[in-house]
Symmetry: C2
Subunit: 319 residues, 2 copies
């Protein structure tokens, strides 16, 4: 049986035009449509999409696990993944987990059942051992340090970047530094907390449990963080905030309530989202779109690959 390239040659049109005619897309000129149909008849061409899929064993669907697409952090990541997927003619199946293990298992099960060709995990909820067990069914890549695991990974140096940010604030006279994290015991948060404790210990400072804020993820979280800080007898003079959204919420609260930034409170964000640029906020740049692209590319690697993405401090006006 003739293939699509031969039909294109026979009809004197491009391969993509043949594809459009076969798929019954509109927006093909009647002349070209006719030429393709004649060529198909001449070559006795018949198409069965399911047979094509079965023979290739491919769905052209890639699963993407994120806690919530709505958060700008994951939105930017997904944008990069989607951009690269489109170039390769893949579509994305989203599984929002809100960090629930069962939902992540659903996604892993889709891989096992060949409903998707590969899986990208933007933020892991299952144990490593569980994820690794599914790697035999198809490629998995995780946004987290996965060196030594049988899946691919892209990761940042959370310990190092947190230490750099603390040093940056310390060198500018801040000895009372608070920090805002998302999930308290996520792999990333644990590394950042370790960096914080080690930093204090090296400078013979006591750990202040009050200076740690958890479950900070949204713009709206800026409000309760600031309300709590303004009630403290000995508040921090600087905040390390692991999301630009939260940092923007804090900054907006400060502007509205007359708290001078950076004089009364210095702020360092993370991500370098558009809102950080707009508010002229000092932040660590995490190139999320580029990371999304790389995550998609890792799906096609033959063997597990690991890539560290360096973070850059962007100095603006909030420190």
């Amino acid at each position: 049986m003739a293939n699509i390239k031969e039909i294109a040659k026979l009809a004197g049109v491009s391969v993509s035009t043949v594809s459009r005619v076969i798929n019954e897309y509109p927006y093909v000129s009647p002349e070209k449509r006719e030429a393709v149909k004649r060529a198909m008849e001449a070559a006795n061409y018949e198409r069965n999409i399911n047979a094509v899929h079965l023979s290739r064993g491919k769905t052209n669907l890639i699963g993407v696990v994120v806690p919530s697409i709505r958060r700008p952090y994951y939105g930017m990541l997904v944008d990069g993944i989607a951009d690269e997927a489109m170039k390769d003619n893949y579509k994305l199946v989203f599984i929002q987990t809100d960090y629930e293990v069962e939902r992540e298992l659903d996604a892993l099960m889709m891989l096992k059942l060949k409903q998707i060709d590969g899986l990208i995990i933007g933020s892991r909820a299952c144990e490593w051992e569980v994820v690794e067990e599914y790697a035999k069914y198809g490629p998995i890549t995780v946004l987290e340090d996965g060196r030594g695991r049988n899946v691919s990974s892209i990761y940042f140096d959370h310990y190092g970047s947190f230490t750099r940010a603390l040093t940056y604030l310390w060198d500018r006279g801040h000895q009372k530094i608070g920090y805002c994290l998302a999930r308290k015991s996520s792999p990333n948060s644990l590394k950042r907390t370790a960096a914080y404790r080690d930093f204090l210990a090296a400078r013979h400072q006591d750990y202040q449990p009050d200076y740690a804020f958890y479950d900070c993820a949204l713009l709206e979280d800026g409000e309760w963080i600031m309300e709590r800080i303004l009630c403290m007898e000995d508040p921090p003079t600087a905040l390390l905030v692991t999301s630009d959204q939260v940092a923007a919420g804090i900054l907006a609260y400060c502007t509205e309530h007359g708290v001078q930034v950076p004089d009364e409170l210095a702020i360092v964000g993370f991500d370098n989202q558009p809102i950080a640029k707009m508010l002229n906020m000092t932040t660590f740049e995490i190139p999320l779109e580029e990371i999304g692209r790389q995550l998609f590319c890792q799906i096609h690697e033959k063997n597990p690959a690991h890539m560290e993405i360096p973070l850059h401090l962007i100095e603006r006006s909030t420190v």
Copy 2:
């Protein structure tokens, strides 16, 4: 052959525990796993996921067409869709179109090829006639006035809400009102432009082409809009901005450059996104999460259904 309910009864466990054992999920106690396996053996149960899918003719995947997930407007919409989908054990396949017709056709083709069970179009790029042609292959629902079409729809009264916003500004002394739209000739923009022109005509005012700003979608667009306004000899005293993101960008520019809001420039946004609450911005509320939920529910309607969502003006401090 026994079904899953009979197995559960036989094993003395819940249906969901049987499902977990069948799907080889971890996190099931060894005792329960053993009980289920014994019951399955006793009942001679055997499972074939592909046979199940084939017999039901269902994939439990719903396609979602949006120009870009990254924009908070679509992020909020998708959040509502995903929320409802999860309850019904559906997953979502995203097709980002960036308004390109061919990508929307890809999504429609997935419906035809039974790769998805239904399709939600968040913003339409193809002609109505093209979309309607695919309705015979499965349920389609569109976020746009689709009354009289053979697909379901959820829509707002764009003409009416724009007129209300213009009247609100006019009544507060604004006769020079500018407006910022996304795509110049999208169905929604055309209705809003008609409302604007009719509003001026009824008040014997001339149409000022300078006061119309197109392709405004992102926070960053606030900058060029304000730069253009500040160069005008006779600038507008109020702006109607069809996205809170753009309105927030405009507001941030004003704050940074000492333009007094609302005295020198009044601003009305659309959506009531978290950023609008944070910046205390007057805006039209579009309940996007609820709309997302309704769009998903419409997929299960037997016949095309249409629902108008009312918009409410939330008065805050920018007018």
